[in-house]
Symmetry: C2
Subunit: 302 residues, 2 copies
């Protein structure tokens, strides 16, 4: 599908918008009400989750479930779980002892709004809840019944997202090389995006090999996504990003751009996008929307 064709583009935009709204609605319903005791943590959890993110991870989960022939609702709770898990990592990343960022998506970061301790604990609560939601979702045979829990625990754990966060922080004080930047991009960003795709394929009833291919797509898309993020951090304004621009440079971080230059980074992102598209082709399902999503991410401006 060519998303530059106005008609296709509007079909794709509508598909994205619908999935996004379903995820928002699910989060609104499933997150504990803001007056649940203790109110401050539940308000902080909702503040961090219901603030207009792109919902990329959740949309990918729904998209892969549909692509494999099952209704999106079968993957709705895992989609929501991936979103709140991601939100928990953002809360913690912004804390003073981590990246120390005051602004997130154009709003005060959670610890600015609610205080550090409440933000830390709201992050923990979202992390815990995400794994709980994975455990509450029916997994089609022949996969083990708690496979979604294992997928998220592995992707989000010390040899996944957390590993990436650790080395990302190290890279602020010790010189990084290409291998380290690749590790950080893979673990901190691509791993959870791949997990989102795998969880969607699992809920959609995909066999082990389709789950693998969904994961491979997610790794490639995740790398392209992170390289674009590095590019946008250099080229866009704080206003457009909704977070401090040039924060990587300010933190002295080695990024795709400092490593390969702007044009080199753009070429890398295009390469990964191409690989992701090849993974989709190998799935042999109706991948139109996922294809459009893949191309759209490469062209995004925020």
């Amino acid at each position: 599908m060519n998303v530059n064709d106005p008609q296709n583009s509007s079909v794709f935009q509508e598909w994205m918008e619908n999935r996004k709204q379903e995820i928002e609605h699910t989060l609104e319903q499933l997150l504990p009400p803001p007056d649940t005791r203790p109110a401050v943590v539940h308000k902080a959890m909702r503040y961090a989750c219901l603030n207009g993110g792109k919902r990329l991870r959740g949309i990918l989960t729904l998209g892969f479930c549909e692509c494999l022939g099952s209704p999106a609702r079968r993957a709705m709770k895992p989609a929501a779980a991936l979103e709140i898990f991601h939100a928990s990592t953002l809360i913690h990343d912004d804390l003073p002892c981590m990246d120390d960022d005051d602004l997130r998506r154009g709003q005060p970061a959670t610890h600015i709004q609610f205080g550090e301790a409440n933000a830390l604990l709201a992050g923990n609560a979202l992390l815990t809840l995400a794994l709980g939601w994975m455990g509450e979702t029916a997994v089609p045979l022949p996969h083990p019944p708690c496979m979604l829990v294992s997928e998220l625990a592995r992707a989000g754990g010390s040899e996944g997202v957390i590993g990436g966060q650790i080395e990302d922080l190290e890279a602020e004080t010790t010189p990084a090389d290409e291998e380290k930047v690749m590790y950080i991009h893979t673990e901190k960003t691509a791993r959870l995006i791949a997990c989102a795709c795998r969880c969607g394929a699992i809920c959609g009833g995909g066999c082990a090999s389709k789950v693998e291919r969904a994961g491979s797509y997610g790794m490639n898309l995740g790398m392209a996504f992170q390289i674009l993020d590095d590019i946008l951090d250099c080229t866009q304004s704080t206003e457009k990003l909704g977070k401090p621009a040039k924060s990587d440079e300010g933190h002295g971080k080695m990024t795709s751009v400092s490593l390969w230059g702007l044009e080199g980074a753009r070429a890398k992102a295009a390469d990964y996008t191409q690989k992701a598209l090849e993974d989709l082709e190998s799935l042999e399902g109706p991948t139109d929307m996922l294809e459009a999503l893949t191309r759209w991410l490469l062209e995004r401006e925020m």
Copy 2:
């Protein structure tokens, strides 16, 4: 069983010591090796977990599994999961933005040893891993297959342990009353101990009503345990506790002792212990060791 009888006491001490060693061994085996990339987080995880805690939660999990007639090994992974989950809450509790304690079990707190960001992330990794281990454990029918995940996610979440941590922090700055202290003790301490007992009963093949009674025992034992903790905080030295003594007073915290006085608190602890013993009786299993454990906890000096 009368644990004051020297012979019974040594049987009980041996039972405790064996269970403790099995848990230590399991943690040693299941935690990622310290040189796993990134090494700093895996070293911090092991540092926080392999530091000679009492292993009360894990021992209760094994004890309830055995009491219901199954071998302890069926509950070994959940027992280890409860211990690392507990360790993750201790890492986070000690952070500067929380209780700001430098000492834990006679050693530098994890953030003193490894830095704040690494400690925060090691805590997250342990929390994630604990839920992952729960998902890897077979749950006997008729319980749902991911029941252990749900148990820990609920007990450890925003309406459980985290709720207790939040109100505990609030109580440092706003006057607390008896209701609030009871809420904090229930959620911050008793909830996870009850979860340990419930998980053991589930792994042991207990029916829903036995799981409930195990949970009730755990709530009562947990309350007695926390009241004792408050008493010991006032009456013991830093050296004996392995953490700063009188830290509650220093933080201006309302505790069992400030609420009921020393003698009143002792009486409350004895009441809860009595209720816990009644819960055990209603289980109709071989509860000798759990009974001995219950009485022993009331008499502990650290």
